[in-house]
Amino acid sequence: MKKLSMLSVLMAVFTLLFSQTSLAACGEIVIGSAISLTGKYATNGVHAQKGYEYAISKIKENGGVKIDGKCYNFKVIYYDDESKGDRAATLAERLISQDKVQYMLGPYSSGMTKAIAPVTEKYQIPMVEAEGASRSLFNKGYKYIFAVLSTSEQYLASTIGLAASVAEKNGKSPSSVKVAIAVENDPFSLDIRAGVLDDAEKFGMQIIIDEKLPRDLSDMSAILTKVKLLKPDLLVVSGHSKGAATAVRQISEQNVKVPLIAMTHCEATDVTGKFGDAANDIVCPTQWAETMSYEDPIFGTAANYESGFKKAYPEYKGRQVPYQTAQASAAVYVFKDAFERAGSMDKEKVRDALSATEMQTFYGNIKFSEAGNNIAKPMALRQIQDGRYNVVAPAEFASHELNWPRK
């Protein structure tokens, strides 16, 4: 009898202690992420990680995630996938089976996402990803992957439309436009190429150069010489940071005159900071720009996000916040929204809530298709004008006129 009462007193004390702590602080929702912190994708992997962390701290400031009247904060377990696909898959497996993670945030790059998606699918773990844009991620019937960004074949496809409208304005037929393509031989850039080819075919444009860049590119003078000889009206380059850096440098050195030049990864490479005037009038696609008019209650407007992020991470001062960071933050925000609508920590309920997402964020509208890609947000094109990135297409978001032809 005595023993029993002792036990009950102890139990009472414990419950008291326990309930007190849960009143004082919010609970934790643990999310896993294998992301490239070293290796060739490390630059953007770190951009994305900072985006995740910034969103987590912003959500915490705004009272956390409210599920069933209780509050929770996100906590992410990161593993470094060393920019290697097989490593990423192993780490995803480890996060799920050893760390017992129930939800995942995506890695950086389409390749890594492709490596992880079969694993999350197998264990039925919902994953919101922000950095894998390859369209091949969304034609395999995956049910647990949700991507906040526009898919990669949309990245530069709009430059074809832009070139066509310029041609029409000048009294020429769009089919007279000659296109040169130089893309890296990786899934992301090949999707970009596919998108460009599709749209060029619609207008009946002629592809006069179509080359694949090697992974360790540091010299593309051979392509640019051909560009000089064949005089295309549009040059499309996609080769991550090294492609952008090499292209900008050598286009100016070789004095290559193409009326419209479009390339990816301008911001991530900091082409304006590195090459100054040489980068002028180049057109760059972006998932997001801080001048766009989207907003939400957590981050405010796109411009608020930019200034808030720079305050939290002073190393970004004086340069553009990359869209890779913004979309990573949006992914965390989508999770918060889904948890609150699901009203439960059950991963199936969270998945269903994710699939019903329809919201506006500072990053753009988000609504997922059956396949999990975001169908509510268009890609924007920005032109570097006197060292500044100004949105020139699509027309409804354009803040500036396109400088054409490029000098």
Partner: protein, 303 residues
């Protein structure tokens, strides 16, 4: 196939393009030749096949880039990279290379392969995986209606590379240490008997190689771009050049370096830029095949 024929057609229609390709190739070939010469030196003197050769080049590039980031003039990068990489080369010799010199081929290959991975990752941690370059801000000279372009920065780079090569040649020919290095390369045991401190010669040779690579990297960062994981492509080219030219054949190394630079540019033009490095590797295969056939006639015991 059509594209390949079209590309060859362009070369015939616009003969001046050939000149441009050769010029571009020779300019990058000069830097390949520098790295290859260092490799030949270490290979010939110490019988160490240094797989980290390209990573020394990239490290030199980062030394120069770091200086520019901290407000020093870009051209200072070349001598400073030479000196800093000399020091790093010496430390690496003492820590790693001195232990594998007398061992068999695979030990030295494994050790330097490990070194290459280590160096690339350390640079990645220190400087990030961004591609970096130094913009000298010099103008570009144009000839033949703008078809031939010679950036003054590239010209300075090539001149510096030639000056360095000339300096090394004179040093090897006339200085006391140069003689000692050559003597050690010919017969280390005899050199030791005659009172040459071969340990010192080895340390000196390896540091010199590292310094040459460092200076080449400092030039490369002014003209092209560098990234922590780009070392391997310079290592491959250095191996191709040395295999083609043979050890201890300096004019051969320089000629092979320039030739490979030009051939790669032709390959890139005709087959597409994705095959630029494939041309170098194909050449290596051909040279090895040729050497193998040559050696069938005069069989000998492998050391």
């Amino acid at each position: 196939m059509d594209q390949i024929l079209g590309n060859i057609g362009l070369l015939i229609d616009y003969p001046v393009v050939n000149l441009k390709i050769v010029l571009d190739g020779v300019m990058i070939g000069a830097l390949f030749a520098l790295a290859a010469y260092g490799l030949a030196l270490v290979w010939g003197v110490m019988n160490v096949k240094n797989l980290a050769q390209g990573d020394f080049v990239i490290a030199g590039g980062y030394v120069s880039w770091w200086l520019v980031e901290h407000g020093f003039p870009a051209l200072l990068g070349v001598p400073v990279a030479f000196i800093v990489m000399w020091g790093i080369g010496w430390v690496i010799y003492k820590l790693v290379i001195s232990r594998v010199i007398e061992r068999d081929l695979f030990t030295s290959l494994l050790a330097t392969f490990g070194l290459a991975i280590m160096m690339a990752q350390i640079m990645n941690l220190m400087f990030g995986s961004d591609t970096q370059s130094v913009d000298l801000g010099y103008p570009t000279l144009h000839f033949f209606d703008g078809f031939i372009d010679v950036p003054i920065a590239k010209l300075i780079g090539v001149l510096m590379a030639s000056a360095l090569a000339a300096g090394v040649i004179v040093f090897m020919k006339s200085s006391r240490m140069g003689q000692a290095i050559r003597a050690t390369a010919q017969d280390a045991r005899a050199a030791r008997v005659l009172g040459i401190d071969t340990e010192k010669v080895y340390a000196f040779t390896f540091s010199l190689n590292s310094a040459i690579c460092g200076a080449a990297g400092a030039i490369i960062v002014m003209v092209w771009i560098i990234q922590p994981f780009y070392g391997i492509s310079y290592s491959i080219r250095a191996f191709v050049i040395v295999t083609a030219a043979g050890l201890g054949n300096l004019p051969g190394v320089i000629a092979a370096g320039l030739g490979i630079g030009a051939l790669e540019q032709y390959g890139a033009h005709i087959f597409g830029i994705g095959y630029q490095q494939a041309v170098a590797v194909m050449l290596l295969l051909l040279v090895l095949l040729y050497r193998l056939i040559q050696q069938r006639r005069n069989r000998q015991v492998l050391k």
